[in-house]
Structure formats: structure tokens, C-alpha cells
């Protein structure tokens, strides 16, 4: 990433942090040409779950404007009333009021994806940023869910476009995550051949083959999740691991999609290429595979106790703490949150961290951007916040309500950043199956051996 001056945080770059996420400053000096932004999660509003991601309930899904710097199409009134000045029907297709000029809200300002009892996700602009540069993807099936949360790097140009394409690409690739109960795991290459999608990324090339060089540098780095076996020699590999490998490849595919954004005509994208973080997970029954690049996080929250952070931020603070710095001093440093890895044309080869686990106790997998976890840095607080949100959600859509409640929590705490949160309850297998699963056998699914279908 080409560095742009950040007045408030020159420090952040001097030390090798290559952008000013450190102080949360937006660095792009111009922002002309809003891309045609329909929220990723809001794109497939009419499709049934299983065919595509869940619908997001943006305020005006389907009205995405296409005016940009060179588009001559004049803005037309949409018929929506202006929430600012009250002018009737005055809001244009580009989202601005034809009378007072104020932005009446973009589809991406607030999006929700409701997977009923399987999962839910909410993304929100927050209170300080003028647009939502986070993006999410949620697809659910019977006892299965694919989730992606991306956070645009605000010092890059068009970070909202980066997060959007990353979430979509990864989400589409996650659909290929195998169900460990499936007796005939799908052939990756055969599958990829026919998959060329609207993002322009051919899945066959987006997912690099990993079989040639097992020691290759770009192998996803595997780590254990909750209850992951410490001594791998003593136990067979977790059946969730193949899922995690697909997640790792999905993240690499997303990285390639984001990297192509620099090829467009806009020189500003070359000067400061679009970039974003990513955290993704595929849940298949009790099996969870996850992966990430950057500082968007995944947590495991059980009935009691502190939340377990499954991911380790690619951040300056984590880096120096790992090198032996005092955690309290490091976390208070202005560049503490500067990320050290991201998806983008300047990111080099993407080395996603991946992890996998099979749930032995019921719990909730929570994926979120730093817009939430910044207000809940203590794992105990995070666990409490998630549990209390779930406990208070007693309406017909408890997961969605809980996700909304967490977003509301971040907003009432300041809403300094965009906020995205996804919640997936994960259920362990019945006792007997879990035993055999842990000890020897590939699991026999208690639920379904199908690919995700209807929610």
C-alpha cells in the first residue's frame, strides 16, 4: 500500500505499520464516484437461502445508484421522502435529497441477514463514519452456515469496494466446504471448472492448488480452536480441518479478487489500492472451520466464562507483544491497532491463518469487525455482552435481535467505526457420536449429510 500522509499519526508509519488504521484516521483525500453499492448481504434479497446469501434489509435494497464520475446518467427521484428536510419524494437514485442535498442513507448503511435459528448477521455504518466500509456474507443451510466479515482498510482508496468483493468472493467459495459426514467428499478441481462467477474471478484460478508443494509458503497456517488437541500425534486430526482448508482457500480467492481492483482505470486505486481485512467461517454441524487475515475476529462463546478469541489479530500490538513487549503499554500505543496483514494488491501472497474445531459443548460462534470488539477488549466482557444480548432476545428472531443488540451496544459506546457482527449457534453431536468422533471415526452426522439447503 502506498502510504498517504496522516497528520495525526506519523508515528504509525515510522515504525513499519504501513497505514494509519493506527489512529483510525481516514486518509483518502478524494472520494469521487461512489461505486454501485448494493450491500453484499442485500443482493440476493429474493433468492431462497441455499441458493445464495441471505437477504439484508437495507433501507433501499435494489435502488443502488450507478452515477459515478464519468457516468452521464442523470439522477432520478426515487420517490422516497427525505428524512432530513421532509421533502416528499425528493431522494435521488444516488441517495441525496434533491432539495437539501443531504444524504438520505445508502443501502449499505445498515444491513441485516436473517438465517432464522441457524445464524444472523448485522452490519452498520456506526456513528462517526459517513459510509459503511464493512461488508458481510451469510449463507445458511440445514445445520450449516457460511459467514464472512470484511472491514475495508480506511487508508486505502475505495475500501468499501474491497470489503464487498472480498465478502462475496469468499462467501461463494465457502459454499464448497465439505460436510465431514459426506461419504464422497467433492472433487475440488472438478468442481472449480464450472464455477466462473459474476465477480470476474474464475474459481479455478482463485483457489491455488496446494497439493504440489505441501511445504509451500502460502499454505494456510493451521492452529487449533477450542478443545483442539494439543498433541496431534495422540489423536486423529479434527474432522473440521478439511473445512478450515476450504476457508483458507476461500480467503486466498477473496484476496485475488481484491487485488484485481487496482487494475481499473482509476489512478487513485493504483496510488492507494483498495484493501480490507477478512474473517470467515464455515459451520457444518458441530464442525467449525475458520480463517482470517487482519484484525477482524472470531470468538467462541459458551454458557459461562470469558469468550475465547479464536483469531489472533494481524496487528502491530499483537506483533510486539509476541516479541515480548508489555501488553498494557503496547495496547495503549497509538499504533496498537495498525494491521500487519490485509487483502489487497500490495499485500503480497495471502497467508491466511486457519483454525478448526468440533464443538463438544453448545456455544455461539461470533464473527465481528473491530467496530464491535474495540468496545469489548476484555474477553470476559465480550462473553457477557454476547450472552446478555442472547438472553434479552426473546422475540420471534432471537439471533437477529441479539446481533442487533450488539450493534446497538457498540453504537451507544460511541460507534466510532463501522460495526459488523454475525452469530452462529453451534450444537455438539449427541454424546455417543461425539465420543466416537473424538476418538476414531469420521463422524456419522446426526442431522444431515446434504449440502446447505433451505434455512
Amino acid at each position: 500500500m502506498i502510504l498517504t500522509e496522516c497528520d495525526s499519526c506519523a508515528e504509525g508509519r515510522a515504525s513499519g505499520a504501513s497505514f494509519c488504521e493506527a489512529c483510525g484516521r481516514l486518509l483518502n483525500e478524494t472520494a469521487v464516484g461512489e461505486a454501485a453499492n448494493s450491500a453484499t448481504a442485500g443482493e440476493a434479497a429474493d433468492k431462497p437461502a441455499g441458493d445464495g446469501p441471505l437477504s439484508g434489509a437495507g433501507p433501499s435494497s435494489g435502488e443502488a445508484a450507478s452515477i459515478d464520475g464519468t457516468d452521464a446518467a442523470p439522477a432520478r427521484r426515487t420517490g422516497r421522502d427525505c428524512p432530513n428536510c421532509g421533502a416528499t419524494g425528493a431522494v435521488d437514485t444516488d441517495g441525496y435529497c434533491e432539495e437539501c442535498g443531504l444524504l438520505a442513507g445508502r443501502p449499505r448503511d445498515h444491513t441485516e441477514a436473517d438465517g432464522d435459528v441457524v445464524a444472523a448477521a448485522v452490519s452498520d455504518r456506526g456513528r462517526r463514519h459517513h459510509r459503511n466500509e464493512d461488508a458481510m456474507w451469510l449463507a445458511v443451510g440445514a445445520d450449516a452456515a457460511d459467514i464472512v466479515v470484511c472491514d475495508g482498510v480506511s487508508s486505502s482508496f475505495d475500501p468499501d469496494v474491497a470489503s464487498e468483493i472480498a465478502a462475496k468472493t469468499a462467501g461463494e467459495l465457502l459454499a464448497r466446504a465439505p460436510h465431514p459426514a459426506d461419504p464422497t467428499p467433492r472433487d475440488e478441481t472438478a468442481d472449480a471448472g464450472g464455477t466462473s462467477d459474476a465477480t470476474g474471478v474464475d474459481a479455478a484460478t482463485a483457489v491455488p492448488s496446494q497439493s504440489d508443494e505441501p511445504e509451500a509458503k502460502d499454505q494456510p497456517e493451521a492452529i487449533g480452536g477450542p478443545e483442539a488437541t494439543v498433541d496431534l500425534a495422540a489423536e486423529p486430526p479434527d474432522p473440521a480441518l478439511p473445512i478450515a482448508e476450504v476457508v483458507g482457500m476461500a480467503i486466498q480467492g477473496a484476496g485475488q479478487s481484491v487485488a484485481t481492483l487496482v487494475d481499473g482505470g482509476d489512478p487513485r486505486r493504483r496510488a492507494s489500492n483498495p484493501a480490507c481485512t477478512i474473517v470467515a467461517a464455515a459451520v457444518r454441524g458441530p464442525h467449525v472451520g475458520f480463517g482470517w487475515v487482519g484484525d477482524s475476529r472470531a470468538y467462541w462463546v459458551t454458557a459461562a466464562g470469558p469468550a475465547e478469541q479464536l483469531t489472533e489479530d494481524d496487528s502491530w500490538a499483537r506483533h510486539v507483544i509476541a516479541m515480548g513487549a508489555d501488553p498494557r503499554v503496547a495496547m495503549n500505543d497509538p499504533k496498537a491497532h495498525a494491521i500487519t496483514a490485509w487483502l489487497g494488491a500490495d499485500a503480497g501472497p495471502i497467508l491466511p491463518h486457519i483454525g478448526a474445531f468440533t464443538a463438544r459443548t453448545p456455544g455461539h460462534l461470533v464473527l465481528c469487525s473491530d467496530g464491535l470488539w474495540n468496545y469489548l477488549t476484555d474477553p470476559a466482557d465480550f462473553g457477557d455482552a454476547v450472552r446478555s444480548a442472547l438472553k434479552l432476545a426473546t422475540g420471534p428472531r432471537p439471533l437477529l435481535e441479539a446481533a442487533r443488540a450488539l450493534v446497538t451496544y457498540a453504537n451507544s459506546a460511541g460507534g466510532a467505526d463501522n460495526i459488523t457482527v454475525a452469530i452462529v449457534p453451534v450444537h455438539p453431536l449427541p454424546e455417543a457420536d461425539a465420543e466416537s468422533d473424538a476418538e476414531t471415526q469420521p463422524i456419522k452426522s446426526a442431522t444431515s449429510d446434504n449440502e446447505p439447503s433451505e434455512a
Binding site: R25, E29, A72, G101, R127, H130
Partner: protein, 421 residues
Amino acid sequence: MSYSAEAFQNEYLAMGASEVNAIVTVTSSGGEGGRRTAEATEIIIVDASGSMQAEGRMANARQAAKAAVNAIDDGVRFAIIAGVSTAQQLYPDPGQLAVSSTLSRADAVRAIDRLQASGGTAMGAWLLLAAQLFEQRPGDIKHCILLTDGDNGERFGYLDSVLQQIAGRFRVDARGVGVNWKVAEVRKITDTMLGTVDIVARPEGLIFAFEQMITEAMGKTSADVQLKVWTPVNAKVRFVKQVEPQVQDLTGKRVEDGPRAARYPLGSWGQESRDYHVCVDVPAGKSGDEMLAARISVVEGDTVHAQSLVRAVWTEDTALSTRINRQVAHYTGQAELADAIQEGIVAREAGDERTATIKFGRAAQLAHASGNKATEELLAKVVEIEDAATGTVRLRRKVNAADEMALDTQSTKTVRVGRSQ
């Protein structure tokens, strides 16, 4: 013709701030195959006042006019006006326009040979006749070349009233030969008529100057392009200026176009790119508010060719709101450069050396910092630049009048940001 419009700005404003600035770059790919979408009319006005006898000016002006005529494309309407105390149509017959062809151009060349220098200078009358001839051709790309060598001899105020009457109806590019004409007077004409002014110090340079103007005029493919500016309720356009290739204030040329919108004339266009500085005052918003401060469209009649949005986003983050957009800063400097030079010249003429030194010093600083080398070189002929970075200059005792006039006409010519840096 296909156009694009792109806005460069820092949309972030400090709390309470209400001034929004943007540079809008308008680029046209030109007509398909260079073909005009409108027909064209060309009128050449040659000063034939008595003073043109000096220094072989008339002979050179004849040659230049002939070269210009020969460069007119087939099918373009044209006429030649001899400028004396009145306006006399030299070619074709009075009140007529010729259609350019091998034959008509040869006729025109013979008519030019008969042109003799005698009489006075009456620019108002010359332009009025040109306007009358152009009137026969609504919708044409209308271009006029005006050659003069002296002060206007008409009664005070007459030229102004003519300009008021014909403003914007056609483009005038004016060239002054020698040093006995007034840059400010001719600039008034070209500012009103969206053209350029320049000095041709030596008569021999006229042929090249005329050919160049005709070539450029023949490259125009559409006639009447406008910038439409929409602003929200309670907003006010502070100014709209062309800032590249030269500074030209369009603010006063505003023509209302429906509620909250107005048009500004951009003249005729070929394959080219120009920059405009738009400054709008809007009601200040709350923290996090995003407002569309202006919607800028490139229009021709009812056709919208391109559109660009100018935004305002209010933030408490001063790191964002204090960032100055490079383009805006650059062209703000170029406009100040033009003003500083013109004010310096006026001060020097008035004998106010102190003010002149300050103004030229500032000009040297701005020209140097922005990489406007052509202007810096001309400045160096009028003042001794001791240190361009600090703007330390000394007035030269003897200044060649042509050099000072060249500096004056050059003052509005700008360079693009980064081009020569």
C-alpha cells in the same frame, strides 16, 4: 462526442465550515473521426488602421490573413472584415458569408491583397458587424479572430455596451501586434467572448499565430457546451472559474436553469480537457452528515454528457478536515498568480514600486512552486528573481514593453498540477 467529468476535492469539512471547493476536470474525446456535430463559421477581423503601415505590419497581416483563409476547412462559412474607423466587409459581399472552397478561398486571398491601412480603430463596430454576420448561422460553431495594433478609438463606453450585447454569442481569440495596444482592453473582449489574448511582438510572427488559431478553431466539433451546476436549498455558488488551460472567471455568466440550478457557458469543444474550480457555500451540517454540495453536469442543450458529484462531509476529525486537496490548492495558487502579475503591472505603471515588488515577488514564488516555468521565465524579464522560493525580487530598471505585455497575457495561462513538478 463523449465527455467525462471528474471532481477532485477534500470533501471533509470541519464542524461549522460551509465552503466547499472542487476542481472538476472535463474531458472530451472529440467528435467521431474528428467530424463536427455542428457546422462552423469563421470570421477574421484585420485591423487596417493607419498605424498598421508601420514596421511592415500590414504586409505581414495580409500574409497571416491569407494563411488563415487557406487553413479553413471546405464547407465552413467565412468572412473577412477590414477594421478601420468603421467596420467594412472585405470578403465576400457585405452581409454575406462565403462557403469555403478552393475557389472562394482564392477569391478571398485576392481581396486581402487589396487591403490598405488607413483610418482608425473601432473594435466595437468591428465586433458588432461580426455578430450580425454570425447571426445568420444559429447553431454553428462560431469563431472570430481579431487582429489589432492599437488602442480602441471609439467613444468611451461604446465597446463595453457592444460586449454586453454580444456576450457569449461567439468566441473571439485576439492577437495584438507590436506594443501600442492595451492588454487590459483586449482582455476585456476575450474574457467576455471566452477566447484568448496574446501578443505578437514582431509582425513576422503573425502568420504562425493565425495558422495556429485557425487550426485550433477547425478542431472544434461541438458548438455550445455548458456546465450545469445544481446546488441544494440555501446554498450559493461563490464562483465557477475555468482554471486550465487558462484562468477565466465564469461566475458572472450564470444563467438560471430551474430551481437551484444554473448554466455556465463553456464555449465550443473539440478533443480536449479543461479544469474548472467550483466553490459553493452550503449550510453547515452536523458531525457525520454527508451532503451533496453540487451536482455538476456537462450539457449541450437538453443532453447531459457527463456528471460529477461534489460532496461535503462534516467531521470532528481535524486530520481529515485540514487536508488540502492538491488540485484545489494548485489552482487556487494559479488564480492568485494571475492576479498578482496583473496587479504588479498596474502598480508599476502607477509608479507604486513597493506594491509592484510585493506582487511580483508573490508571483515569482507561486510560479516557481507550481512549476509554471513559462510564466516564471517571463517574470524574470520584468524583475530580477533573487530567490523564487521566498519571493525575493527586484524590479528591473529597463523593461522591454513587449516583455511586460507578454507577461500580462501569459498571466492567466496555467499548468496542470504535477505536470512540471
